[in-house]
Amino acid sequence: MTSTDTRPPTGDAPGRPSQPTVVRRDRVVIRFAGDSGDGMQLTGDRFTSETASFGNDLSTLPNYPAEIRAPAGTLPGVSSFQVHFADFDILTPGDRPDVLVAMNPAALRANIGDLPKGGIVIVNTDEFTPRNLTKVGYAGNPLEDDSLADFQVHRVAMATLTRGALESTGLSKKDAERAKNMFALGLLSWMYSRPQGSTERFLREKFAKRPDLAEANVLAFRAGHAYGETTEAFAVVYEVAKAKLPAGTYRQITGNTALAYGIVAATHVTGLEVLLGSYPITPATDILHELSRHKAFGVTTVQAEDEIAGVGAALGASFGGRLGVTTTSGPGVALKAETIGLAVALELPLLVIDVQRGGPSTGLPTKTEQADLLQALHGRNGESPVPVIAPQTPGDCFDAVLDAVRMAVTHRTPVILLSDGALANGSEPWQVPDVAALPTVDPAFATEPNAPDGSGAFWPYLRDPGTLARPWAVPGTPGLEHRIGGLEKADGSGSISYDPANHERMVHLRAAKVAGIPVPDLEVDDPGGAAELLVLGWGSTYGPIGAAARRVRAMGRDVATAHLRHLNPFPANLGEVLGRYRAVLVPEMNLGQLASLLRSRYLVDAQSYTKMTGQPFKAEELQDVFLTHIPGAHS
């Protein structure tokens, strides 16, 4: 056991701290864990920002309860934030933390099982009272018995130390102790040689209206840093060098922010104003928050009375020549289904963003899952084809929105974008795109009557022979007055039609229109070129699949990976790619939805690996799965 007993440095014996050993690491995973009232998300977020501005590659995974304030000190109330940073390009938030910061017994108990032997635990001893220990089922104090013998434990009285550092501020004991998360941040910032300026700046901005609190938090942050520097308890500081990312300007971004920015950028690339109709729902609500701040770009946000009204308002705006957008999670998609079906019949642009969470029903609002794929593809009455697109990383959410917008506007169709909880709140460095280089999309509104009989009439369902898209004629355009609706329309003229042959034709036309949307070919990553196993994923599993593949290849084994961005239509070469491999494995955070689609569409023996814990795959877990699926692995 490597354990250090630390005490607050006494003022009268400062001494000169001995220089700690500097250890270089290529990557580190830190998990901050505490009560949901302890500010762990903010702490993690700040550490991430420091890390991003330092120039490491990084990936984060927040994990918090659905309850805003679960009972204090209990296991259900534990909130954590994991950050993985490295001097190379990384793909996941990390499987297991190298360092666990536990602000109370519940945080220790809930997270210690994930720590590998030899891992570092930094605990806030002030919370390890008999009452708090009992609350989470500890019979004794784990800091006093040898149950943590496998770890390097640092015992730090964070609340006491913070209170001491803030003595001069005149804040109450309770208010002063509230800043202990900044003490922890300061300590970790020292341990990992993080730059401090941005956090102090951030605190002063965040508490601009309460300069006393700003000062208190800055003091606590500095106290944590000084504590590491002066106590000699921490014999080692770590350095993780900058990562060598492609040249460019970077920032840190979460999936939800990237989605929101994509929607703002859509006004630029299409020239259309955006109307977002949305109803608050976890984990999609932050998109509504962010977009409500960007009105200057012509983004209007309507916080509707319900999910149905949200998509309804968006569709109404699309009818009026705007880009209608709605953002939600799985339960909301279920409610919006009928309106999405109407948009299929109306053939109007509409962007539906589903930030997936655990289901069915209310399920696990704050946890991630990929189980809405079949809902997105098929969750409507009748033959109701909708393009479906899924981003693979937080930053990729931006590009995925612009892809979806291009499809929606060019092909006059609703498009569903499937993000998920892991992408929504996870973050990574993002190369800021050059606005001038974003490809534009022409809404190409109809301006002239088009009836082929020369009558001067307007036929709203006369299609473009290339794309099969119908004309988008917006109210206010003289001579193009027309009526559309959910009843079946006559091919061409758009009049109501109950003609059997017409319905058959229209069903096929709508299907062919979506099936014909051009999407890029699927690219396969197979560095050795000799793989017999193809691992095919979609959405947020991109990171863990890629990280697991690296591990497998590092063992000298071949594995090919490919990631589907387009779930409808599939890339044209998908069948051919699947046919190239002796074995196909599809890891999904559902019960095998993509795998079943592949099996039915391509008659391929795709094997499914599934996980339904509300947590992303771990690279270590997938590595073992890949190894067992490599043909001949056991021979």
Partner: protein
């Protein structure tokens, strides 16, 4: 009339472009064959609306009818304007998005008692409370027609229908009371066959800036035949029908010696009652005030929904900032602020506050 509540005065159609030449009912008639049942009250409403629309003087192409599902919701197909026949109950939500996006349109919602008060009740009340610049025509025939005769949320208790062979046990909504309770700024009522009264209410609704709810009593000759006959028959209508005129004493019934109706509406407790005009002091007769929500509510509840006394005309007409104007004002203000700072600058938003540069 509208009451000035200290907000900028803007008429319902002030932002809609004017037609360059006079238009006729024929201009508003589409080439689609009207397919309601013979004798359906919808024909009368359609004819009234087609004749009324040209009088607004706005461009036909800037007029949109949005409907839900039900017999009346076929209405948009028969108007040669822009139109959307949407899904059951959702027309107010869809129209809200359209009205917010396009201040230059006159947006009309056509709905029925099932569409707006049953499946779409939520959207109706929220449109009313937000005061979106929409005109909602609620065709109330107190029955489900398109599904062939089930009781609706306005059917009278005890009504025998295909789904209530022993009589409906549902208590009906009073649409006017409901709308007032939902903070509606304009509520009117008319009868399908009363072209003059209907047109007058429609005109007031069109001029109103904000959501206007117009309940139209409309006959379903197939499944609820004659449901409003007592309000049409010369023998019974005068005793039952009360037509409101803002600023006028509320008198109705056969014309008496003073040239006004022989019945009067007077206050009683917190409500109203009907009295013989001869029996009351003329000073006690209620003078209609479309700005008085308490009066409007009391009028909506003058009798049970058995048509003993049925009030028509404009119950309430007040001005309150509309949702769509306010939303656009915020967008405009944000734009103006950004433009003063040389923006809005998308590149700067994407960069954010903390960036770092990776060199080659």
């Amino acid at each position: 009339m509208s009451i000035d509540l200290g907000m900028p005065q803007l008429g319902g159609l002030d932002l809609v472009p004017q037609a360059e030449a006079p238009q006729t009912a024929k201009d508003f008639t589409s080439d689609q064959e009207v397919r309601w049942c013979p004798g359906c009250g919808d024909y009368a409403v359609l004819a009234a609306v087609r004749s009324f629309m040209p009088t607004l003087g706005i461009k036909r192409e800037n007029t949109v009818f949005v409907s839900g599902i039900g017999c009346s919701s076929r209405f948009p197909y028969y108007m040669d304007t822009y139109g959307m026949h949407s899904i059951h109950g959702r027309a107010p939500a869809i129209a809200t998005g359209l009205a917010v996006a396009r201040p230059d349109l006159s947006v009309w919602v056509v709905t029925g008692d099932g569409d707006s008060l049953s499946i779409g009740g939520n959207h109706l009340i929220h449109a009313l409370r937000r005061n979106v610049n929409l005109k909602i025509l609620l065709f109330n025939n107190r029955i489900y027609g398109l599904t062939k005769g089930q009781y609706s949320p306005t059917s009278e208790t005890g009504k025998v229908t295909k789904s209530s062979p022993m009589g409906s046990v549902d208590h009906p909504f009073n649409p006017v009371s409901l709308a007032l309770g939902a903070e509606a700024t304009f509520v009117g009522r008319a009868i399908d066959s009363d072209r003059k009264g209907l047109t007058a209410v429609l005109q007031a609704a069109a001029a109103h800036r904000g959501t206007a709810l117009v309940e139209i009593f409309q006959d379903c000759p197939i499944f609820n035949d004659g449901s409003f006959d007592v309000l049409r028959s010369p023998e019974t209508a005068p005793q039952r029908l009360i037509k409101l005129t803002d600023g006028e004493p509320i008198r109705f019934g056969p014309v008496g010696d003073d040239g006004l109706g022989t019945f009067a509406v007077v206050r009683e407790g917190f409500g109203l009652r009907v009295a013989e005009a001869a029996d009351v002091d003329p000073a006690d007769v209620v003078v209609h005030d479309a700005g008085d929500v308490h009066l409007a509510f009391a009028l909506s509840r003058l009798s049970d929904q058995d048509l003993t006394h049925t009030v028509t005309g404009v119950f309430r007409d007040v001005q309150r900032t509309t949702y769509d104007d306010a939303v656009r004002a915020q967008v405009g203000a944000a734009r103006a602020t950004a433009e003063r700072a040389g923006g809005p600058d998308l590149q700067s938003v994407l960069r954010g506050a903390d960036t770092w540069t990776v060199e080659d």
